[in-house]
Symmetry: C2
Subunit: 463 residues, 2 copies
C-alpha cells in the first residue's frame, strides 16, 4: 500500500514540477530524471495549456515515447500542428504509429502520412498492409542491423551510430552481402568481445525468426519461449522487415489470453470501460441470439417429456440442478481443452489421453456428486415434501444417476467438440461454447426425464 502511495507520488511530483518550474531549461533537466511512463501518467492529468507548453520543451522524440505509454494518444496529437504531429509520429515505433493513425479520421491520417519522411511513411504503409492477425502487423522497424563482414570494432562503431535512432539494441541483427538475414549477435557478447576476435564467432547463424504473414495465434507459443529476446520478422526473400520486441510479446500474450477469456464468457471480443452501448451490444448479441435459437430447440425436446412432468410434477424441481451441473462440467472440460490446444501441438496419442482423462475426471466427480445428490435429495423429498421413503429415494436415485451420466457425457462433449473444431480449422474458443451448452442440455434433459419415465412410470407405475 505504501508503495502504491509512493508510485502515485512520482506523478504528483511531476505535476507539481511542471506547474511550478519557470525556466524551460530547468524543467527539461528535471523531466529527464523520470520514466516516460510516469510522465505519460502526469501528462493526461494536465490541462491543454500546460501540455502545449511541454511539447516544445520535451521535443518530438520524447513526446513520441510518452505517447506510446498513453491509451489514446490521438486525443493529444490533435493538440499539435500538423507538421509537429508528423514529426512525433515519425519518431514512434512503426507499429505504435500505425495504432495511433488508425484512431484518426481518414483525411487527417492522409495529411499526416503525406508529411512523414520517406522512411517512416514506407514503414507505416508496410505495417498497415498486414491483416490484424498476421505477425507483420505487430512488428516494429526500429532495430539495429549490420553486415557480416565487419570487424568487432567496426560493429561496435556501427552499433553506436545506429543506437541514436533505434533503441531496440539488445540483439544486433546481421545480414550477408546479398542483404539476406544471416544471424544475430547478443549485445552482451559484442560488448565483452575482444577486438581481435572474429565477428563470426559471436554470430548465431541459426537464429529463430518469424515470417511476416504468419498467423499470430500460430506462433504465440514460440514467441513466449523466446520472450527475453527480440525476434526478427523476414519476408519470403529472407530480408529482415522488422522485429518483435519483448514489449510486443507482452502485448500479444495479453491480447490472446484476453481474447480466449472473452470468448469463454460468450463475448466476441474483450470489452473495456470506455465502450459505447452499441459496441457492447454488438459483442454480446451474436452469441446470445445463437443460444436463444438453440435453446428453443432444447425447449421443444423438453416438450416431449411434458406428460412425465404432468404425472410426477416434483421431478421438474431438479431439472435446473442437473442442467447447471452438466453445463459447468462441460465448461471446465472446454476451458482445459482449449488451453491445451493453444499451448501444444498434440499427437493423436496425447489427444486420446486427454479425452480419456477428462472422462475419468467426469466419472469420478459425477460418482461423488451423484451419491451426494442421491442422499440429500432423497432426504429432502422424503422428509420435507412428505413422500413415501421408497418413492423419495427412487426419485433421488434418478437425479443422482442422471447427474453422473450427464457429467461423464458433458466431459466427453466438452473435450471432443473443441478438438473437432480445431481439426477443421474453426476457432474452437468461439464455436464450441453454444454447441456444447446445447448438446449438454439435451443430454441432461433426455437422460433425466428418460430415466424417470423408464423407472418411475414404465417399471414402477407411479402414475
Amino acid at each position: 500500500m505504501d508503495e502504491k502511495l509512493k508510485e502515485q507520488n512520482y506523478v504528483e511530483e511531476l505535476i507539481e514540477i511542471i506547474r511550478s518550474t519557470k525556466s524551460n531549461e530547468e524543467l527539461r533537466d528535471k523531466l529527464s530524471d523520470y520514466h516516460e511512463n510516469d510522465i505519460a501518467d502526469a501528462f493526461v492529468r494536465l490541462d491543454e495549456e500546460e501540455r502545449k507548453r511541454l511539447y516544445p520543451i520535451l521535443g518530438a522524440e520524447q513526446v513520441a515515447e510518452i505517447f506510446t505509454y498513453i491509451d489514446d494518444p490521438d486525443l493529444y496529437l490533435n493538440e499539435l500542428d500538423l507538421d509537429k504531429a508528423a514529426r512525433v509520429i515519425s519518431y514512434m515505433d512503426s507499429d505504435d504509429a500505425v495504432d495511433v493513425l488508425d484512431e484518426l479520421d481518414d483525411s487527417k491520417q492522409a495529411q499526416l502520412v503525406e508529411l512523414l519522411d520517406e522512411e517512416s511513411s514506407h514503414d507505416i504503409k508496410m505495417i498497415q498492409s498486414y491483416e490484424d492477425d498476421e505477425i507483420g502487423s505487430k512488428m516494429t522497424t526500429n532495430f539495429i542491423v549490420i553486415k557480416n563482414d565487419l570487424t568487432i570494432r567496426q560493429a561496435m562503431r556501427e552499433l553506436i551510430r545506429q543506437a541514436g535512432e533505434n533503441d531496440n539494441i539488445l540483439t544486433v541483427y546481421v545480414t550477408d552481402e546479398a542483404g539476406k538475414f544471416y544471424g544475430a549477435i547478443d549485445l552482451k557478447d559484442l560488448i565483452i568481445a575482444r577486438e581481435n576476435n572474429a565477428l563470426e564467432d559471436i554470430i548465431s547463424t541459426s537464429y529463430p525468426y518469424l515470417r511476416d504473414h504468419e498467423q499470430i495465434s500460430e506462433c504465440i507459443e514460440r514467441m513466449k519461449d523466446y520472450a527475453e529476446d527480440s525476434i526478427p520478422v523476414l519476408d519470403e526473400n529472407d530480408e529482415i522487415l522488422g522485429v518483435i520486441t519483448s514489449q510486443d510479446i507482452v502485448e500479444v500474450v495479453d491480447d490472446e489470453m484476453g481474447d480466449d477469456y472473452a470468448k469463454l464468457a460468450g463475448l466476441t471480443a474483450e470489452e473495456d470501460l470506455q465502450e459505447t452501448l452499441v459496441e457492447s451490444m454488438k459483442k454480446r448479441l451474436p452469441w446470445l441470439i445463437i443460444l436463444l435459437v438453440l435453446g428453443m430447440g432444447v425447449s421443444s425436446v423438453v416438450g416431449i417429456f411434458e406428460t412425465v412432468v404432468a404425472v410426477i410434477p416434483i421431478v421438474m424441481c431438479f431439472q435446473s440442478l442437473i442442467l447447471d451441473m452438466a453445463g459447468n462440467v462441460g465448461t471446465q472440460s472446454l476451458a482445459v481443452t482449449i488451453r491445451v490446444l493453444v499451448d501444444e501441438n498434440l499427437t493423436s496419442k496425447q489427444k486420446r489421453h486427454l479425452v480419456g482423462k477428462e472422462m475419468r475426471v467426469g466419472f469420478m466427480n459425477g460418482l461423488f456428486l451423484g451419491i451426494l445428490a442421491f442422499s440429500f435429495i432423497g432426504l429432502y423429498v422424503w422428509l420435507l415434501k412428505n413422500n413415501p421413503v421408497s418413492h423419495a429415494f427412487i426419485i433421488s436415485g434418478c437425479v443422482g444417476l442422471a447427474l453422473m451420466i450427464a457429467m461423464v457425457i458433458s466431459s466427453l462433449v466438452g473435450t471432443l467438440i473443441p478438438m473437432l473444431f480445431h481439426k477443421i480449422k474453426i476457432d474452437p474458443a468461439v464455436a464450441s461454447g453454444p454447441l456444447i451448452t446445447t448438446i449438454n442440455d439435451l443430454v441432461a434433459v433426455v437422460t433425466y426425464y428418460g430415466l424417470v419415465w423408464l423407472l418411475l412410470i414404465d417399471v414402477l407405475h407411479f402414475a
Copy 2:
C-alpha cells in the same frame, strides 16, 4: 505452415548434428550458432547417453541457460553428478533455480544447496523466503549495478566486467555511496554517451521500482506498462534485491490471465496435460460441490411452483431457455466487470457508470431477445403444440417478458457481486461465479413461474 516446417528443422538439424559430429570441438562450435531454446527442444528428444555426452561439451553455464527453456529441468538435473548439478544451478537466474529446486525431493534439494557457492545459495534462500504471490518470488538477482560517482568510461568498463556474469544488461542500475537505489541508466544512453559527459546526466533518478513484499496482482498493470524495461525490486531500506525482467513479466501476465481464465471456467487453477486424475479432481470438485449445494437450494424454490407446472405443464418447456440465457448474460457481465476491476482502479463515478452501462446493455439485449422469443415461441405453441392462438401468445408473452426481466437483473447481479467481493478484498474471480449462477437461477425461476402464476392462473384462470 512452411515456416513451422523450417522451425521444426532447427531441432531436427540439431539432433542430426549431435548424432553425427564426432569431434567435441567441432560440435561445440556448431552448437554455438543455435538459440538455447532450440537446443532445449532438441535436448529433450535425445536419449540419456547422448545428453551425457553433451553436458561437458556445453559447459555448466550453457546447460544452465538451456535448462531455463525446458519444462521439467529437474528430470535432466538428475543425470548430472551432484557437484556438476550444483554448478549448473549456480549459473541459473535465481528465480529459475528456485523453480527447479522446488521440483526436487527435500534431501536432494538440501544436498545441492549445500554445494552452491555462497552468493548463489544466499540469492536462492532469499527468493525462497517470499510467498508465491509476492513480487520477490519472481525476481532474478542477475543484473548490473554501478556506483553513481563513476565517470562514463569507468561505468562502461564496469559494465563490460559485470556483463560476463550478468546478462540483463539493458538497464544499468545505480546506487549511491550508502548503497541505496539511486537511479537507472538506459544502456543505449551509456553506449552513445561521449566520454566527457557526466554520468549524472544519463541517470534517471526517479526511476520506477517495486517493493519485494508487494502482491503480484497489485502491481501487474504497472509491470505491463513498463514491459520493455526491467524494473528493480527494493527492500524497505531502498537496497536493490533483484530485478523483474521482461521475460518475468511475460510469465506473470500469462499466469495471471491463465488464472482468471481458469476461474471463469470454474477451475481453482490452470490445468495442463500432464496432471494426474487426482490433481484435476481437486481443481474441479470444490466449485462443483458448492454449485450442487446451491443448486439444491434453487430446486427447493422451483418446488414452490410445482402446482403451476401441474396445471399448465407446457410452461416447464421454456424453463431451461430462460435459465440458460440469464446465466449467459450474467457470465458476460461478470467477465467484463472482472477484467475492468483487474485493469483499473475505479472511482465510484466509474463504478456507477459501469453498472448503468451493464444494465442498459442487459435491457436492450433483453428487449430484442424477448421480442424474438415472444414471436417464435408463440408460433410454436400455437401451431405445433395445438393451443388456441390467444393462449399461445400469452404463454410466449410470459417467456419473453421473463427473459427480458431476467436479463436486466442478471446483468446487474453479474456486475454488482464482483464489485462487492472486490471491495471486501475477496478475489471476485473465485467467489462470484457460483453466487451469480445461483442468484440468477432464482431470479429467472421466480420471475418466470411467478408471471405465469399471476397472469395465467390468477388473472386469466387458465386452469
